[in-house]
């Protein structure tokens, strides 16, 4: 659920205590602590945990310019090495030698939506030259659609011409080269994720941080990471440029540098049946962990591994309750017990509401050791479940304010008033439950499919598992 949904649940929790409502009426605002407690798990995770968490691999397809905070970073040739392969940069320099101009045919594989491959052959024009920026020389290569754009932008390329070239770094037979493009090549992302999965299978866990690609004008290059267990592949697709609101505004990359595919030599499963989409705000962290799945050793993914840990447990709720009680008792707040209970319930409501989604939480550490899967009622960003929950909390607040006031501002029986106030939430939850059945079925089918994968069996025969 979204942050405000949790927060308003804490606000509502406080109103169930007549003493706290009485304080609020007197202008004593301390009960807002219950709302802060309800939001506390996300506050801790997103303001601290996210930044302090371990990262084994950091994938930055398009490093930022230090000052402008967007890509591509303007670099010197001397700063580049093979480690920068497939990353997106800009270099400013002078054309030194034209090595080749030409045309020909290029063949490349294209992945269709159904997962099948097709080989496409196209005619292309190209140019290869060396660029010198004073710190060194690099070979620059432009071909296909990128050549057309390049020529449009700079006109005829001649020796001695000064250029600011964008592109991704690649490694050829003669060393480093810059391939003119408007995006990084997705192969680097796919390779690193595949390596992390294989290492996790051997070592137990690898955490990968994937940075997003921010471009000038506060827009982002979207890309999708698709883990494909049946094919034992990690596929990365470079998408269009999108606004922070997720609206695509064009800038599709040519097919020949749209996909990156890396084979994985160990079995892995994906627990959520959709690819990971990376665009605005920040990129995700994914933990790959060795796990047992229906009697077999596999690697499982876990999205945002620093999220939904101890902060999202019922144990943490008890600790919050104790701390709130101790602090407010110490400063002499008369209703410290009620406030502590409201704070604990607020935090528990957060845990329960998140449990309705996919990720689940480690509910009672140290008694429980691992995450209990969520009920899959809807995604955390679902407008329907968020609104239904938030509205229910608003209904509770109005209901409590009314029943704890004498004479009652709304002269109606408690049951009737609650029903009148809460019906939008009841309808919303009913729709969400009906919808969730379809999603559960999809996930169940996917898991069954994993279990019966031929790829899994083959590995057993050769002793891979």
């Amino acid at each position: 659920m979204r942050g405000f949904t949790h927060y308003i649940s804490g606000l509502a929790a406080a109103t169930f205590f007549a003493a706290l409502v009485g304080d609020l009426r007197l202008g004593i605002l301390i009960p807002v602590i219950a709302a802060a407690s309800a939001y506390f798990p996300d506050f801790v995770d997103f303001k601290f945990g996210k930044f302090l968490a371990r990262r084994d691999y950091e994938i930055d397809p398009a490093p930022w310019d230090e000052k402008k905070h967007y890509a591509p970073r303007l670099v010197k040739v001397s700063e580049l090495s093979e480690e920068n392969r497939y990353q997106f940069f800009a270099i400013e320099g002078t054309v030194e030698d034209i090595l080749a101009r030409g045309s020909g045919k290029v063949s490349y594989k294209v992945l269709r939506e159904d997962g099948s491959e097709e080989t496409v052959t196209e005619e292309y024009n190209s140019i290869v030259f060396t660029l010198n920026d004073g710190t060194g020389k690099i070979t620059v290569e432009a071909f296909g659609d990128d050549y057309e754009f390049f020529e449009e932008e700079f006109g005829k390329i001649e020796e001695g011409k000064k250029l600011l070239v964008f592109g991704y770094v690649d490694v050829g037979e003669e060393g480093l080269k810059l391939v003119v493009s408007d995006a990084p090549h997705p192969q680097g992302i796919a390779d690193t994720i595949a390596r992390a999965i294989e290492e996790a299978y051997r070592e137990g866990e690898r955490i990968v941080k994937i940075h997003n690609i921010r471009l000038p004008g506060d827009v982002y290059r979207r890309f999708l990471v698709h883990l494909d267990p049946p094919r034992r592949e990690v596929r990365v697709e470079m998408g269009p440029i999108v606004t922070p609101g997720g609206v695509a505004i064009g800038g599709e990359v040519p097919e020949y540098r749209k996909y990156g595919v890396a084979k994985v030599s160990v079995p892995f499963i994906k627990t959520y049946p959709k690819p990971t989409r990376i665009d605005s705000f920040s990129g995700p962290e994914i933990a790959f962990r060795r796990a047992q799945f229906r009697g077999k050793t596999v690697v499982k993914d876990r999205f945002l591994p620093w999220h939904h840990g101890f902060s999202h447990s019922l144990t943490m709720g008890m600790i919050i309750g104790l701390v709130v009680f101790a602090f407010f008792k110490l400063i002499g707040y008369e209703h410290a017990t009620e406030l502590a209970l409201a704070s604990m319930i607020g935090q528990w409501l957060h845990v329960f509401e998140d449990q309705l989604g996919f990720m689940g939480s480690n509910l009672l550490p140290p008694i429980t050791k691992d995450v209990v899967p969520g009920f899959k009622l809807g995604e955390s960003g679902s407008g329907l479940t968020n609104f239904s929950t938030a509205w229910l909390m608003i209904a509770f607040m109005i209901w409590n304010f009314n029943r704890f006031t004498d004479p009652r501002p709304i002269p109606m029986s408690d049951a009737k008033l609650l029903l009148l106030l809460a019906w939008p939430s009841i309808v919303g939850f009913a729709i969400a439950i009906v919808r969730s059945f379809r999603l559960r079925r999809e996930i169940s089918e996917l898991m069954d499919y994993y279990t019966n994968l031929e790829a899994f069996e083959e590995m057993e025969e050769v002793g891979g598992i």
């Binding site: 927060y7 609020l24 807002v32 930055d60 609206v247 960003g381 407008g383």
Partner: protein
């Protein structure tokens, strides 16, 4: 009550007045109305009973036409030092007219929601709910402020080299927001509780502060960023879906209603709450919901002054009007709803044609030049309303508004200028803080 024909004429005069000034960046209808009253007075040129209807026309026009200034005259250069609003991004893509059309879709939806609600729902539902919840307004207000701080999304920090550096980069922005809030609050507290500004400016003492926070700082950013005047597409085309439109309308209406009914909670704060509650995403949905939100926040709040069983005074315009004449009859309430519909229709057409005109001739006058003219006008307005000390307040509040942009934090933290002193007053601590600051 004046004859209907007179009310109609004064409403139309209000629309004309509002439409003529609302497209200018940095101008706010509340400031201009206050200036109008201060300079010309009401009662001589205009009957006092007509003033609420003149105001309704002007406010409706503002809710519609101000889309022009936020889309066309709030541009940033492509380096995007600061995060851009969705409307600014549309403009940078040559789709400013489309952004205005999306806003207008929202504004019309908001108007329909408001009119239907005002006729059939609000008179029945609002009074009892307001009665039950109004003693707890301070609770809601402080809760929203705490949530604003707790939920600030760190825009940087991901790329720090070490965990400590990442944490610092993230918290630098959060601390910046807290600083802006408390500096704004300090300024607001001084302006509200001391005789810094002349007593003759009783109704407009907050005006230079708000012009600085939101108007002047915006205009100065326009001047500093020296944005490119990109060619705009004047085609009547929008990219959205019925689902997004309905969802945005619902979210916008929810946020606008919360802001309209409860004091101090502004449209932006209402939008923040409703956006989270309905989990909105998408630039098109954001712009549509802004249209809905602003119509309900501005016009709906003012309409509450007419609502017979409730008669709430919400917003600076309502306070200004109610100091001269408060509508009393149900007939005036119905006439006000009619005036809203009429004004909305005219404002829609005005905004639409003005947007087409601007899209076709966008790069004729550079926004930098226009911004200089507006900056001078804002200084003159502040001086006329509040004298030389008003200019000092304008200077300080402009600096705070620019700080919010520099810290890459929410501009709405400047609302601390209103929220903090009101919270201090509501909790009975004004005297304590006066003493603490050595002011009394």
């Amino acid at each position: 009550m004046l004859p209907l024909s007179d009310l109609l004429i004064w409403s139309l005069a209000g629309v004309l007045f509002g439409a003529l000034i609302s497209w200018i960046p940095g101008f706010h209808i509340f400031n201009i109305m206050a200036l109008l009253v201060a300079v010309f007075g009401v009662g001589e040129l205009m009957p006092v009973q007509a003033f609420p209807f003149f105001a309704i026309g002007a406010i409706v026009a503002y809710a519609y036409v101000s889309a022009i200034s936020s889309v066309y005259f709030s541009v940033a250069d492509e380096s995007a030092v600061f995060l851009l609003f969705p409307t600014q991004r549309y403009l940078l893509l040559g789709r400013g007219h489309e952004a205005v059309l999306l806003y207008l879709i929202g504004a019309v939806a908001g108007t329909l929601f408001l009119v239907i609600g005002a006729l059939f729902l609000f008179p029945r539902i609002l009074p009892p709910i307001y009665q039950a919840t109004s003693p707890y307004i301070t609770y809601f207000l402080v809760a929203i402020v705490v949530f604003m701080f707790m939920s600030e999304w760190p825009k940087e920090g991901d790329r720090g080299r070490t965990p400590a550096e990442r944490l610092w980069l993230a918290w630098r922005q959060i601390f910046g927001g807290i600083l802006v809030f408390f500096l704004s609050g300090l300024l607001g507290f001084i302006v509200m509780n001391t005789n810094l500004l002349p007593t003759t400016s009783a109704y407009t003492r907050l005006t230079p502060m708000f012009i600085g926070f939101f108007g002047m700082s915006w205009v100065i950013l326009n001047i500093l960023s020296n944005p490119p005047m990109l060619e705009q597409v004047p085609d009547d085309r929008v990219e959205s879906s019925l689902y997004n439109t309905l969802k945005a309308t619902f979210g916008g209406a929810l946020g606008g209603t919360i802001a309209a009914v409860y004091p101090i909670i502004t449209g932006g704060m209402g939008a923040l709450i409703a956006g989270h509650m309905t989990s909105q995403r998408g630039d098109d949905a954001f712009i549509i919901s802004q249209g809905v939100n602003r119509v309900i926040y501005y016009v709906g709040a003012f309409t509450l002054l007419f609502l017979p069983q409730l008669r709430l005074t919400r917003g600076a315009a309502a306070w200004l009007v109610s100091s001269i004449y408060t509508p009393k009859s149900y007939a005036e309430y119905l006439a006000a709803i009619g005036a809203i519909l009429l004004s909305a229709g005219i404002s829609f057409l005005f905004t639409y044609y003005l947007s087409r005109f601007l899209a076709k001739s966008f790069n004729v006058v550079h926004i930098k030049k226009l911004s200089y003219v507006v900056a001078v006008t804002l200084v003159v307005i502040s001086y006329l309303l509040t004298g030389p000390m008003g200019l000092a307040v304008l200077f300080v509040s402009t600096a705070i508004g620019l700080m919010a942009a520099a810290f890459n934090t929410r501009r709405s933290y400047c609302l601390g200028g209103l929220i903090l002193p009101v919270l201090i007053s509501m909790t009975g601590h004004t005297g304590y803080f006066m003493h603490l600051l050595g002011l009394g």
